[in-house]
């Protein structure tokens, strides 16, 4: 290698290294990651209502098909704020990404949907036998579609199977894919079951396929943490005013989701796509038993730690995350103090 080339490489490496050093910066844009599912609904409302203009910086919305790709984008510095599950948030913090959960979104938002033959069996015997019976009758294990490992639905599916002493490798076949993949796989009846969230639950219930709900998230882990609002630490440190506004918007959106469901349904349908989610189905999914709009981050700490211990057991990471490194309650507490009308959300 010529000396000139060596120098070029050295300079390149040094520059790349410097990029890692946090420097004081002016925030020129906020990039918000979300998914086309109901737990991201706060984002849809804030965007449609034009609330982002109050932030004083341009906002770019980026759509993802499941949580784990948002984790990657977060790690690469391409997303600053994310509406995703507690699972990916824990993965991010455990891997050393500096960011915090500033609010909760929904809790107990999951449900297991399965083909009627399995649902009947499970109703009779809600244990491992139902899985073994199904496998015996079909000559293959139950195929369950869900989001990729590290996502909340995937971890909760494994938590449920673990509770029932079902072997996740031998007794069932877990297939991981994004939101549209799960939807397609179930509606075309290529899988026997799914652990999934709204609005896919309602979409499946509306379709003529012989599938039904087997168990709800709250029956698997009461108070199960679901979606959260996750913000990069540098924004928390440099622009706490923006974070406080985001949390305020989040609470305003929560109120609309609970109290003005007709209006919320219209917004959600438009954002996800009316062809994929008609207003009627969106409206119905807002009444789903698998949705609990809980914005208070204090309310999900215990559930999060149970969840985290299970992730450690799964081997996702070696040691648990300290709640101090994961949560920042200040913004929620401040907004509630200034706007007591949001108390209880």
């Amino acid at each position: 290698m010529s000396t000139r080339l060596t120098k070029v490489f050295l300079v390149l490496f040094v520059v790349m290294g410097l990029l890692q050093v946090p420097v004081s910066w002016a925030l020129d844009k906020i990039r918000i990651g979300y998914m086309p599912i109901l737990p991201s609904a706060h984002e849809f409302i804030a965007a449609e209502k034009g609330w982002y203009r109050e932030l004083g910086v341009p906002v770019e919305e980026i759509r993802f098909s499941s949580g784990p790709p948002i984790v990657q984008a977060f790690a690469a510095g391409q997303v600053d704020v994310a509406y995703f599950g507690i699972g990916p948030a824990l993965v991010s913090v455990a891997k050393g990404i500096k960011a915090k959960v500033v609010a909760s979104g929904v809790t107990e938002q999951l449900a297991v949907i399965a083909v009627n033959s399995f649902a009947d069996q499970y109703q009779k015997e809600p244990n491992r036998k139902a899985f073994l019976q199904f496998a015996k009758a079909k000559g293959r294990p139950l195929k369950i579609a869900t989001f990729p490992p590290g996502s909340t639905p995937n971890v909760m599916l494994r938590y449920w199977l673990d509770k029932l002493h079902v072997d996740p490798v031998k007794d069932v076949e877990i297939l991981s894919m994004g939101a549209s993949g799960v939807r397609l796989a179930v509606l075309s009846q290529k899988v026997d079951a799914t652990m999934i969230l709204e609005p896919i639950i309602t979409i499946i219930r509306h379709s003529p396929i012989p599938y039904r709900i087997v168990v709800y998230g709250k029956q698997i882990l009461p108070g199960q943490p679901g979606s959260i609002l996750f913000v990069r630490q540098s924004i928390i440190d440099e622009r706490p005013d923006i974070v406080e506004k985001l949390v305020h918007m989040h609470l305003k959106a929560t109120k609309i989701l609970v109290e003005k469901r007709d209006e919320a349904a219209g917004i959600i349908s438009r954002k996800i796509g009316p062809e994929a989610l008609p207003v009627k189905v969106a409206r119905e999914s807002l009444d789903s038993k698998a949705l609990h709009w809980v914005a208070n981050p204090h309310a999900i700490v215990d559930g999060t730690m149970t969840y985290n211990r299970f992730q450690v057991k799964l081997g996702t990471f070696k040691k648990g995350v300290d709640p101090k490194d994961l949560f920042d309650f200040r913004f929620y507490d401040r907004v509630i103090k200034a706007h007591p009308e949001y108390k209880g959300y």
């Binding site: 290294g17 050393g96 297939l175």
Partner: protein
């Protein structure tokens, strides 16, 4: 640049330089990670990747997932290559068939294999066949066109000679004259398909089919970049093996030249 000193040294010297270059690259990479310039989720250390690689072999993951991927790959290639060679041969042989099929193929060809994912799910489910189907598409078009071009390009006087010498059956002429003459082109097509197919394997598994592609995607979602890199190494090493083996076979088949 005035004269390359590397070219002036012995073979042993060259090997030494090459090894030092690789070792230096790995050392520099390790050093950068060790200095803490990059968090492990952006750049895992080579030693971490090597450890993970060994772990993944030890716990059976690499052999198991590689087995799945090779199955998708083999099945996809068999489908794509056999259909591609057959149809390419027929189209080059029969003007009528060429006239009928050419516009259809020209219309379907620009659709990338991955655009067929929704149909792969609907038609085959989340199965080996679905992944094989996606892999076969790329291989099909490549071998189809290389076979077609190869057959069109043969010296047709050979066919005339065969006919004059009394070989009247089409099949006999195809088998004895056309295929051997077009073989170099067909083999080039197959070799290109081997590469294209292997690249599609990773993508074809990303919608939930077990294999090294899915494993990489899942590991990336968990920010376990050491696992991602270990599987990248698997992909590279396996393809190196496949390509090397095919070249040996190709040389043997074309020894008559």
């Amino acid at each position: 640049m005035k004269g390359n000193p590397v070219l002036g040294i012995s073979r042993l010297g060259r090997t030494v330089v090459q090894c030092t270059s690789v070792a230096g690259f790995l050392g520099l990479w390790e050093g950068l990670v060790w200095l803490g310039l990059f968090p492990p989720y952006l750049l895992p250390a080579p030693t971490a990747v090597a450890t993970t690689f060994v772990d993944q072999i030890g716990n059976g993951n690499i052999p198991r997932l590689l087995g799945y991927s090779l199955r998708h790959y083999a099945l996809g290639l068999i489908w794509g290559v056999s259909l591609g060679v057959l149809l390419g041969l027929c189209m080059a042989w029969s003007r009528q068939l060429e006239l009928v099929l050419d516009p259809i193929i020209a219309l379907l060809r620009p659709i990338p294999p991955l655009a067929w994912i929704p149909f792969a799910i609907i038609w085959f489910g989340i199965t080996t066949q679905a992944a094989a189907f996606l892999i076969s598409l790329g291989a099909f078009y490549i071998t189809l066109y290389s076979t077609y071009g190869g057959v069109k390009g043969i010296d047709w006087r050979l066919v005339d000679v065969a006919r004059t010498l009394g070989d009247q059956s089409n099949w006999g002429i195809i088998r004895r004259i056309v295929i051997p003459a077009a073989l170099p082109a067909i083999l080039t097509g197959i070799r290109t398909s081997l590469g294209q197919g292997w690249m599609t394997v990773v993508a074809a598994e990303m919608f939930g089919i077990q294999g090294i592609g899915l494993k990489m995607l899942e590991a990336a979602g968990l920010l376990s970049m050491d696992v991602v890199m270990a599987y990248m190494a698997v992909i590279g090493l396996v393809y190196f093996g496949i390509d090397h083996t095919f070249r040996t076979v190709e040389d043997r088949l074309l020894r008559w030249r």
